[in-house]
Amino acid sequence: MTAAPAIARAGLRGAELAGALRDLLGPEKVLWAREDLLLYEYDGAVDTATPDAVVLPNETADVAKLARFCAEHAVPLVPRGAGTGLSGGAIPVEGGVVISFARMSRILELDVPNLRAVVQPGLVNLHLSTAAAPHGLYFVPDPSSQKACTLGGNVAENSGGPHTLAYGVTTNHVTGLELVLSDGTVVRLGGKALEYDGYDLVGTFVGSEGTLGIVTEITVKLTPLPEDKRTLMAAFPTMDDASNTVSAIIGAGIVPSAIEMMDQLSTQAVEASVGAGYPLDAGGILLVEVDGVRDGLDDLLERIETICRASHAQELRVATTALERDKLWAGRKGAFAAMGRLASDYYVQDGVIPRTKLPQVLRHIIAVGERYGLRIANVFHAGDGNLHPLIMFDGSKGPAELERVREAGREILEMCIAVGGSITGEHGVGMEKNCYMPLQYSPIDMAVMRRVKEAFDPLGLMNPGKVFPTPGRCKEFSINAAR
């Protein structure tokens, strides 16, 4: 859609860079042809930029060699998993080398007695759970893109997913990392034990969006599969009713493994595309799942059903077979893709709010949509207060239309901050929201983050143009930065 202007940095670029990389690593590990590079200029968000070259390492030593070379020649490095990210994290906005982990995608060890797996960053999220399933184990974080997204990307973005309500997001499940720093140093942090002496650098690194270093190996926790599950679809006349139900369930001391909400626009799109069996006349629906040992699950489900009825539920449907459960979830997981039926393009936001503010903020989102004349669908992790408004638009109308969409998105995020929330719950800041960071953090808070950046990446070559506001692109926010 819109290609960000390349920022001129001194350093090796273009054909000269690609040639040097071929000499350094061998031609089979480097892509440089125009038609090959085109595949790497976008991710799941709306910004694009073309890399000077793409490197496909086979092992950590390749990455270290590449980093040393790039340090010497002032070349930015941008790690990339499957390119499913939703904040432009894998976009080489300042040019340089994109590192694709497509060839480092193996499970190195399934350590069942220790409930750990050691994996390469290019491993697809779902493949880990599939491999662990015969041992009765799984990897908890389950982003909707889990059939494609990679563990390296999950670590970079601190990814969540529907089932992180009870069991935590990526950072709660990573105990060890191997990193390559921007000067080519290889460092191992943590391991299979829960903690090690010194600072928690593993925890500091997870969610740093590729700006501190490149992950080359990951040690994660595996969790016993629940003995059983119950999945309930509850339909409500209004989104307010659905929102109040969420607070009532949590307030009753029940922590479901997931509570997802969809508005009418979303369910209609999903029904047209997947046919999950959601009622078309409902103002809002909830998917609620509880899991654990079999004992007491039915009682718990009954309590949830009672709460739903008290909040005016018009229809309750419990999945009685795995097939029915999968069908209900297929609708949720396929919701973003289904939006293609409503509009040629969509822009998804990721704000977080305190759960109790759901009715207020959802009304605000409707008002923003009306004011901008944009259709906005809501499909989100209600239990966490993690909103995903999908703003629909037609990209062929040009950059002015996209700018209008971004403005609407910004108004929604400003509301999230105003009620004490965050600009992003799981998609990351990237180059999509870096200009909005001053909405959430003071200049002091940002300066402290800079200290961490400089300690890890004093050369400033790791995924530049992300997370921190960039003077060129973020002019309009300089006033807010004084906040």
């Binding site: 350590d111 007695p113 409930l115 750990r116 935590g168 997001v169 709660n172 460092v187 191992r188 942090l189 391991g191 034990a193 829960l194 090690y196 002496d197 010194g198 600072y199 928690d200 650098l201 925890g203 500091t204 997870v206 969610g207 740093s208 949590i250 307030g251 009753a252 001391g253 922590v255 654990g292 040992v293 004992d295 007491g296 977080v352 305190p354 759960r355 109790t356 992790h381 966490d384 993690n386 004490g420 929330g421 965050s422 992003t424 719950g425 799981e426 998609h427 960071m437 959430q440 003071s442 002091i444 808070d445 940002m446 402290v448 200290r451 950046k453 400089e454 300690a455 890890f456 997370v467």
Partner: protein, 384 residues
């Protein structure tokens, strides 16, 4: 005698730190004083007490979050939340002796509930910290999910006050579960006790405690506690009975779970005349580590959080105790974990003994960036 500072606000705390930095005065940070034994004891020019930073800032029961000042005692916070039928699901040691919220964060002090509920690093949503340059910085936020910017909470948790002083924190909290029960079974060998613990861990029972303790008569007692709805809690007890019966052992019910677990938590403090080693291990290495502990001291006490792989060993045999403790520190590393001396009543022990943690060069860069004059908590951490 060190000079005592007791700031009443976050800003005053930061100002006191800046003044110390200007004068190159070293600072020890003190809440309830229950972690004074951690690291190497060295007198500082200033002791900064957090007692003036007390009280709840904000508690929204419906959102299940609470924001508190760092000097508040954990016990006071627990009581305030209990009035709303809620709790902060941490069960660290030293609570009865006045452990504060700030000290628990700085020392990353956890209890047996870590497997079920997460530890400090999983429950802290945001912190405010006073820094040696006089600034008060905020990290994280007050909502349960937030990936905006770096997760600096993780950097402060467990940093023992070496980077800054945590002055306020926001936590996730939970409603108090309706039912809590516990039971124990005693085995002849650590291998048996840890094997049963491991089997229970490979289920979706999610116990609130799974502790292996060496008894006074040298046997190995497994304690399981569960909390929540009655039916899954009863199931957890039933699973222990089944596993114990399979090994020819009977199960004893525990009437008051908290009263039974408290003394096990407080092993951390039982170093009068001995040494307490704390090891964090891969789960499957715990039995071997327990064997090693009794190998170096036949009278060693052992309490292991078997669900999280965190073992405390109290060595009591004065003869050769320094060599024995060093041996255990090395043993933990060989088994793929790490270890430190938690408490020592004898001289001549390096609390962190052995090689530096991996990534120490990065930790030093961070220390230099946050505390360039090196005034904060000298000799307190693994970085010296």
């Amino acid at each position: 005698m060190p000079h005592v500072e007791r700031p009443a606000t976050a800003e005053a705390c930061a100002e006191a730190l800046r003044a110390c930095a200007d004068l190159r005065h070293t600072v020890r940070v003190r809440g309830g004083g229950t972690k004074d034994g951690l690291g190497t004891r060295r007198e500082t020019d200033v002791v900064l007490e957090t007692a003036g930073l007390d009280g709840i800032v904000d508690h929204v029961p419906e959102d299940l979050t609470v924001t508190v000042r760092a000097g508040m005692s954990f016990a006071a916070l627990r009581d305030a939340l209990a009035a709303h039928g809620q709790f902060l699901p941490l069960d660290p040691p030293h609570v009865a002796r006045g452990a504060t919220v700030g000290g628990i964060i700085a020392a990353n002090s956890n209890g047996f509930g870590r497997y079920r509920y997460g530890g400090v690093r999983d429950l802290v949503l945001g912190v405010r910290a006073a820094l040696p340059d006089g600034a008060v910085a905020r990290a994280g936020g007050r909502v349960v999910k937030n990936v905006a910017g770096y997760d600096l909470n993780k950097l402060f948790i467990g940093s023992l006050g070496t980077l800054g002083v945590v002055v306020e924190a926001t936590f996730k909290i939970l409603p108090v579960p309706p039912t809590a029960r516990a039971a124990s079974a005693t085995f002849a060998t650590p291998g048996d006790a840890f094997a049963v613990a491991g089997a229970l861990l490979r289920t979706s029972l999610r116990p609130t405690a799974l502790v292996v303790e060496r008894t006074a008569d040298g046997r190995w007692r497994l304690v399981i506690a569960a909390a929540g709805e009655a039916a899954p809690v009863e199931r957890a007890m039933a699973e222990l009975r089944r596993a114990a019966a399979a090994r020819g052992t009977a199960v004893e019910a525990i009437d008051e779970p908290e009263a039974a677990l408290d003394p096990l938590r407080e092993i951390v403090d039982l170093a009068d005349g001995g040494v307490v080693v704390r090891a964090v291990l891969p789960l499957s290495a715990q039995a071997a580590f327990a064997e090693a502990a009794t190998g170096v001291d036949r009278g060693a006490r052992v309490v292991a959080d078997a669900a999280s792989g965190i073992a405390h060993v109290q060595l009591r045999d004065e003869a050769g105790i320094v060599v024995a403790a060093d041996g255990l520190l090395a043993g933990a590393r060989i088994l793929g974990g790490s270890a430190r001396i938690e408490r020592a009543a004898v001289a001549g022990l390096d609390p962190f003994g052995g090689p530096e943690p991996s990534g120490a060069f990065l930790m030093r860069r961070l220390k230099a960036a946050f505390d360039p004059t090196g005034i904060l908590e000298p000799a307190r951490s693994a970085l010296g």
